[in-house]
């Protein structure tokens, strides 16, 4: 259990001050001292590097706050129970995406710039190490914030893919309006069935639920007069068949979702690896160039030898 003796220390400082005054020892403390302190501070290199580093960090912080602020709206798109405030149009989302990307690019460029400049002026090994580490920290911070962004983007992309997929799920050229309406009715039941499924399922069903009320009324109005027993039976059979089809299609949808998420994850991993390799390839390139130079010089030296 650590004990804070800072107050004790300050008390010691006071004791020493009074003691020194009593002894008449000239000391840098007191009123003069503080002025000296001010003087001494300003010529001291305030660290151009660190102030710029802190600037970059505050930028990244702004990006993070921006993303977090709009995150809820960004993700929570399809809840039709939300008020107008909550809705975000796609264009707005695109705007956010674009802005975020530009921001991230500028930040990483700034970091790169800092990196090259940091090593130019200073000759001390320790300071170099320190600065490299600081820049690593900043880059890591940027990566973490970018992760926020890429997560929300992934969800959005997945949704778009699902939507496209679903729009292909409508039954084949069945011009009979009745059948199209019955298919909507049918689609409602499997959506009801799978309501307990995980949230990822909710969106396709909600889409259907959305479209359903619009067409359902239309269907109801038309079908009433003309349903004969045979047709009812036929419709029922077709219902059953369509239920089966829809179930299998929903399974496929689920699988596709899973796959897309995995693929995006894989892509992230691969991108990271490729970027890492880029750095290494650069250093290898440097080494090779250096080696070539050395060999050239070596050859020249060897050529000179017979002349001696």
């Amino acid at each position: 259990m650590a004990v804070d003796i800072t107050l004790l220390f300050r008390a010691s400082v006071k004791t020493v001050k009074t003691r020194n005054k009593a002894l008449g020892v000239a000391v840098g403390g007191g009123v003069d001292g503080s002025r000296d302190e001010l003087f001494r501070r300003s010529p001291r290199p305030k660290g151009d590097f660190s102030s710029r580093a802190r600037e970059v960090i505050s930028h990244i912080g702004k990006l993070r706050d921006f993303l977090l602020e709009h995150r809820k709206d960004y993700i929570n798109a399809y809840s039709h129970t939300m008020s107008e405030y909550g809705r975000m149009t796609d264009t707005e989302r695109d705007q956010i995406d674009q802005d975020a990307q530009i921001f991230m690019r500028t930040c990483s460029e700034a970091i790169q710039q800092l990196r090259t400049e940091a090593h130019k002026e200073i000759h001390s090994q320790q300071v170099k190490e320190h600065r490299t580490a600081v820049l690593d920290f900043i880059e890591d911070y940027l990566k973490r914030v970018c992760k926020l962004y890429s997560e929300q983007r992934a969800i959005r992309v997945k949704r778009v893919v699902d939507k496209k997929r679903l729009s292909k799920l409508e039954p084949e050229p069945n011009t009979k309006t009745r059948e199209s309406t019955s298919s909507e009715k049918v689609s409602q039941s499997p959506s009801k069935d799978s309501e307990e499924n995980p949230a990822t399922e909710e969106r396709p069903e909600k889409i259907l639920a959305e479209t359903q009320p619009e067409l359902g009324t239309w269907g109801d109005g038309k079908g009433e007069d003309e349903l004969s027993p045979e047709e009812i039976q036929m419709f029922e059979q077709e219902n059953q068949r369509l239920i089966g089809e829809m179930n299998s299609l929903f399974d496929e949808v689920r699988q596709i979702e899973g796959r897309v998420v995995e693929i995006s994850r894989l892509q992230e991993i691969f991108t990271e690896k490729v970027l890492q390799q880029e750095a290494e390839i650069d250093s290898i390139h440097q080494l090779v160039v250096g080696a070539t130079e050395n060999i050239k010089e070596g050859n020249e030296d060897i050529r000179e030898v017979p002349h001696l």
Partner: protein, 642 residues
């Protein structure tokens, strides 16, 4: 009752965790550390002295330091350049030289702000020295915080700690037991030990009940420690043991027992040859602060004439808590370890093959529409394979590490026939009949180094009830000298035996048996690298070393002539004098065994094995310094020379 048990279990949450948490808090500018994934980076520089380095290195790896925001970690007494605009965290002992150097740093304005943390409490006068320097350098406002950390001990395992590594010599067995020690020197040594123990209990957050034997160095330590704890408890304002400094889930029902023993009660164990993995590594290889250094000989190769001879590679490995294999097997007998490494290797290879197979499947099925379901399945597999790759690589690294270490140990075992020594010593210590004569083993040129033989003989000498006759002794001495041993340790042991009234010599060691060859042949047949040909497959039977026995008596409140007259101290009691009658009649749930004069992994392992059988009981093992048999022999030798 269940809640109490859970509380004690949580509180016994290892000393390692407590010290790590304390260090992390210190590194976080003395504010409790919370992980925040989108937190802004803060950076700082860590300055430590050698003591601080020894404390930090078993607990935090360089990567963990980085995660806490430390860009550079430097020794106090090295050349350091000014780094502007960065806070510096100091973690040093409050010695004269350290204080001087810190004052110099302040004067040279090396860093932006200073967070001073002293490993053990700093005295008022030294604090004023720093204040003086800060004033002179106009740096008073830069000194942001000053803390006494009370962390003056090194934790090596969840339940094991040592006092120091740097100045081991100061508190070693030799230092305490040499005949020419002066009173002041003894006082210094005792003060060092007590200071560290005090820090230990502050970090643990408990006031123990102390028991110690009479007339030993351990008694001196106990008296001083009791006094120090008592003073601190009386001082209500500054007490370190008040309710809010203790963590939640404290030892609410029971206080721990501290058993202070002196090394002199058992000199045989430090010399003993051992058979468990961790103890073997410590005995045979260069192992301290959880790091083992190996020299790898780079095989027999023909180097062209005139070329420089190949250098041996030096490799060092850290054996850390995240190393699952180590945690599982550090107390296992060596043949078991060899087998387990083999098993791990096989399972790793199976997983590797699995990943390779995926590659070929992916290549084939890429085009086929009909196998879409298979493909999606493989996508999942591929994802899991990619994400499990780091895990696999880590596993491979650990397997390589342990293969190297175990191979090195095995080489020593084979070269020095350590299994023979182990078996023989066990027999001596348990007083079963010996099949081979001691003289034979000593005279055998193949078996072991001179040091091994010396160890064996010393154990024999210590363990026998009656000393061997003069003639026999001469014979042994001659054989030993022929084998190349130095006889100084024997001198000392003779004196020691004369001093201590070891009426009941280390008895009840139990017996060991040799298991039938089944296990061994299986290891050999699987084409294992660990060809233990000719190495006996010995199995340890549970036996209690003297230290364990003493602990058992005291913890379970058993009556035993050996421990009955141990002194009893309770710093929380108002009356200062001790009584021999313990007030508490219940068995203890929690105990700390501390050996003054040095300890070793054999005793540690023995205690761990002992407590494994008991539910809900917890033991911590500590010693003033860790040394293996080689170092101990050296100390005995120096003592014998005088």
């Amino acid at each position: 009752m269940a809640a109490a048990a859970a509380a004690t279990a949580a509180a016994a949450a290892s000393i390692r965790e407590r010290q790590t948490v304390a260090l992390k808090r210190m590194l976080n500018f003395n504010v409790p550390h919370i992980k925040n994934s989108t937190g802004e980076p803060v950076w700082k520089v860590l300055i430590y002295d050698r003591f601080g380095q020894d404390i930090i290195s078993p607990l935090l790896s360089v990567k963990e330091l980085r995660d806490m925001g430390i860009t550079l970690h430097l020794l106090l007494h090295s050349d350091r350049d000014p780094i502007p605009d960065v806070p510096a965290v100091y973690f040093v002992m409050p010695t004269e030289e350290n204080i001087d150097r810190m004052c110099q740093d302040l004067r040279n304005q090396l860093y932006e702000s200073y967070y001073l943390n002293f490993i053990s409490a700093i005295s008022r006068s030294k604090l004023e020295d720093i204040a003086n320097a800060a004033l002179a350098a106009s740096a008073v406002t830069q000194v942001a915080k000053v803390f006494d950390q009370y962390l003056n001990f090194i934790t090596l395992e969840d339940d094991m700690f040592v006092l120091c590594n740097q100045n081991k010599e100061l508190v070693s067995y030799r230092a305490i037991n040499r005949p020419d020690i002066t009173d002041t020197e003894m006082e210094t040594v005792m003060d060092t030990i007590v200071d560290s123990l005090f820090c230990f209990f502050v970090t643990l957050g408990a006031v123990p009940i102390i028991r110690c034997s009479r007339g030993t160095a351990a008694e001196m330590v106990a008296v001083k420690l009791d006094k120090k704890l008592r003073e601190n408890l009386r001082d209500a304002r500054n007490s370190l043991f008040t309710g809010d400094t203790l963590g939640a889930g404290q030892f609410s029902f029971q206080r721990p027992l501290l058993v202070l023993v002196d090394r002199n009660i058992d000199l045989a164990t430090p010399l003993h040859h051992t058979w468990t993995y961790q103890a073997l590594v410590h005995d045979v290889l260069d192992f301290h602060l959880n790091r083992v250094n190996l020299e790898e000989s780079s095989g027999v190769e023909n180097s062209p004439a005139g070329a420089r001879p190949k250098r041996k590679n030096k490799k060092s490995y850290d054996l850390t808590p995240v190393d699952k294999f180590w945690q599982k097997h550090k107390g296992s007998p060596f043949p078991e370890v060899a087998e387990s490494v083999q098993q791990e290797l096989e399972s790793y290879r199976a997983q590797e093959d699995e990943v390779k197979r995926l590659k070929s499947i992916m290549g084939l099925e890429g085009e086929d529409e009909g196998a879409i379901s298979m493909l999606s399945d493989n996508t999942a597999k591929l994802t899991s394979a990619v994400s499990s790759l780091p895990e696999l690589l880590e596993k491979k690294r650990l397997i390589d590490l342990h293969t190297n270490v175990a191979t090195a140990v095995l080489e020593h075992i084979k070269a020095r026939k350590l299994d023979v020594y182990f078996e023989y010593e066990e027999k001596i210590m348990s007083k079963t009949t010996l099949d081979k004569s001691l003289l034979d083993i000593i005279s055998d040129p193949d078996a072991g180094t001179p040091e091994d033989k010396m160890r064996l003989f010393l154990i024999y000498y210590i363990s026998t009830q009656q000393a061997p006759s003069e003639a026999d002794l001469e014979q042994y001495k001659k054989a030993l000298t022929d084998a190349g041993c130095n006889l100084n340790p024997l001198q000392y042991i003779k004196q020691w035996k004369a001093f201590t009234k070891m009426a009941s010599a280390p008895a009840s060691y139990g017996s060991t048996t040799t298991k039938p060859m089944g296990l061994l042949s299986r290891v050999m047949n699987t084409g294992s690298q660990f060809v233990m040909e000719g190495v006996k497959n010995l199995v340890l039977k549970q036996q209690n070393l003297p230290v364990t026995r003493i602990l058992d008596n005291l913890m379970e409140m058993k009556s035993n002539p050996e421990t009955d007259d141990y002194r009893y101290f309770d710093p929380k009691m108002l009356r200062g004098n001790d009584s021999s009658v313990p007030r508490n009649k219940n068995p203890f749930q929690e105990a700390i065994v501390f050996v003054v004069g040095g300890g070793n992994y054999i005793e540690y392992q023995n205690l761990v094995d002992y407590i494994k059988g008991k539910q809900g009981k917890h033991i911590l093992y500590g010693c003033s310094g860790l040394f293996n048999a080689t170092q101990f022999i050296k100390q005995l030798s120096q003592l014998g020379q005088k």
